[in-house]
Amino acid sequence: MALGLAAFCVFALTLRLWHLQIIKGEFFRDRSENNRLRTVYVPPSRGLIVDRNGEVLVRNRPSLNVDLVIEDSPNPTDTITLLAEIVGQDPATLLEKLTRQGKRSKYEPKLILRDVSRDMIAKISAQRHRLPGVIISVVPARDYVNGELAAHLVGYIREISGDQLKNTSYAGYRMGDVVGQSGIEGRYERYLQGERGSQAVIVNASGNKIGAAYSHLALPGSDIVLTIDRKLQEIADRSLAGRKGAIVAMNPQTGEILAAAAAPRFSPGIFTSEMSKEVWTDLIEGKDHKLTNRVTQGAYPPGSVFKIFVAAAALAEGVVTPQEKFRCPGYMKMGGRRFHCHKHSGHGSVNLFEAIVQSCDVYFYTVGQRLGVDRIFRYAHDIFDFGEPTGLDVGDESSGLIPSTQWKARYFRNPEDKKWYPGETLPVSIGQGAVTTTPLQVARGISAIVNGGKVLKPRVVMKVVASDGRVLEQAPAGPEIIRSIDLDPTIFEALKKAMVGVVEHPRGTGHKAALPKVAMISVGGKTGTAQVASKESGVKDDDHAWFAGFAPAEDPKIVVAAILENGGHGGAAAAPVVQDLFAAYFGVPDEEPLPVDTKKNKNRRP
């Protein structure tokens, strides 16, 4: 019996050993490997962002982080509290950072403070003996060589958020990694990021290094070559200083974006180091909407710029001939209501050319009436692609809106409101009412007019070059044509001629876009002065100033669309901005355009 008991006990032990060693053996083998190896990750250096000429826009610089190794810190909470005191931060915030990274091995340094100044490092080092486990590590951080230059386009990077980590598109990322959040940094994150390196060392139970197990070098991220021209971008950015608005310059033949500026801006550099709550709140919730890239995300009524596309529709549909004249008494009566022209005294008798040059509203009221809103919609939306995102690879876009009877029926609930009234067509004809467009859409639309009817996909990335020099992605040599508009070429010629008239004709509204005569480069364009529906009732905001132009008129190389929010008259405020860009692009010496004696157009009244 005793032997039987002994046999039973030995059998029980054997059974348990079988369970541990055979059934769960692999699990424990892993655990023993984890014990033995300490892996230290080496962050890769992020790819550069350079302009079309190879000028660096964003690079990396060494930065100092403060980390904590839990294993070496007998009391992490005390250490962090003291550290917080030294750097003058809230201990709770720092502790929260620590717990967020809690799942890691206790040997792996945990990030406490990012991109700390050298002065602060000196202060921390002086107290080192009281901060067991605190280490300073050198890691690459973003260096924005040109400060805020093209901030929206470039985008910013920031520590990966908890929500992003859960997202499958961020598979492989770890808490504390820095990822692109917007713009090129966001869209090309996978290229820019590179691959994390790792070093595994064998340690004993007391954490002493015994030897090296393996190491993988970090692989630097790939560089992004933009179609942007830094000099042009700089001028665009400068033109918007202290203003709200957007400027976009595009090659009308290829769709390449040469400059894309939006204001107010943010400084991408502030995201690399610790950011105060106030700064963050201002960025996210502030009324300036600093993070909004107004080039693609700003939907504005295009005002008179839209007349070009209404004119194209009218000529194509044959509702009007270029020679046909209408009389403008300064207003148009419709349904017992007066629709004013911006020139209250009237333009007299005008044909298409004169109507565009002088931006006569009554002419376009008439033409719009003849077309009807749905034909305007068909040309603006279906042919010139307004009301749809352009597909530029820099982040979410606003699609803007081109109204139609269908849209109205869909959009409103009340059966009364669903009906389209003829009076509503008139504002649409002059780019008001419900019409909104983004500056990029306007630049693309004007490009389609001046390049003979090719609607292009705008692009901002020329190529992606890996760290070893291999070209990973290359934009096609020619333009990416979304649609070739099948219209009589004379229509485009007539519109171009009229737009040159806007700048060069004595009565034109856009003189200020003209380059000095010596340059021998003729400029075309269209002004727009868009009424702003005041948000707070009773207060009327200033009009948005638009100008969309191209040059040289004979063979356009560049199209620029600019909007200045509440900037006043397009010809007065926006045209000079566009002129600056043309001057820079063609290397025309900075010189005032010849004064042209014209009556200054007054702002329209409500």
């Binding site: 030995v10 029980a12 054997t14 692999e26 014990n35 033995r36």
Partner: protein, 384 residues
Amino acid sequence: MVARIRKGVLSNFDWVFLTFALLIPLCGLVVLFSAGYDAEGTVDLFGLLSVNFPSSACLKQATYILLGMVVMGIGMAISSQTLHRYAFGLYGVALVLLIAVAGFGVVVNGSRRWLSLGGINLQPAEFMKLGVIVTMARVLSRRPPKNGAAYALTELFVPALVIGIPMFLIARQPDLGTALSLGIVGITQILFVGVRPKALLSVVASVLILAYPAWEMLHDYQQRRILVLLDPESDPRGSGYHITQSKIAVGSGELFGKGYRQGTQTQLEFLPEHTTDFVFSVLAEEWGFVGCVTLLGLFFGLFASMLRIAGRARDMFACLVAFGITAQVFAHVVINIGMVIGLLPVVGIPLPLVSYGGSSMLSIMFGLGIVQGIGMRRLQFRAG
């Protein structure tokens, strides 16, 4: 006191038993060589000479084994009559020493286990192990169950005291492992003779009832160790560390082990106490399931041959002594292995014949010698 061993007795020498009793410590040496490996180690042998040898534990253990064989011979020479005669005396002296420990014992690692007598450190509990076995054997063989083959509850009062008093003293030191093994051995001896089912039931019931106050009496660290056994992951850095690391070592050995001296848990010192209490984990890590089963097989062979000797003993007393020693070694093996593979709480009991340590080796070898002696004297009984 020491009886002469007659020539006829030598013919009863149990070679199989001796083979098991020596194979196991030899296996232990192999494991200890790895567990205590230190490439630049020099071994200081009892202050006598210094030797360049890469494993101090292994070399010292080898000398303990040699000493142990001498002690085993002494054990063989002691006849059961002598043990019978001095049983109460041994028990009495051990008890006095235990009380002395409670009074003037030296505190090591928070427990008062040692008595310092002019440079020699004694652990009276070690004496008490043998003391309880022989005293119980004498008490039980003198007073066999009155009616039939099984004890009634009332007859167990004296044996209970014999076990209970030293258990209480040792548990207070505190040395839970030894106290428990003392209790297990005594109770096994009683069960060996036989207990009425009713009496057994009431004992079990009262143990269960007494479990709560006993639990309350345990030190915090003892309670924690038992709790940690139930959920080792709850405290991986504190009390659970030993069990967790040991289980990793054992489990990661898989079928054939990581190879001799290739156990990372052992060599990088993640495994605590790897030459003493957790030496079995070293075997498990480096030799795998196969090595573990082999050692368990050797132990089983050892017990089987010891039980055979007990079964053939000349009288009830000798039989109970042999059985008691077997039970003691067996209990230690099961508790130790059970502990390192996470089946039982960590109580600090070494693995007999394998764990590094002179006291343990010598006392167990002595016990095995006594068992051998009982086996050798079996025919005297038949002839007489």
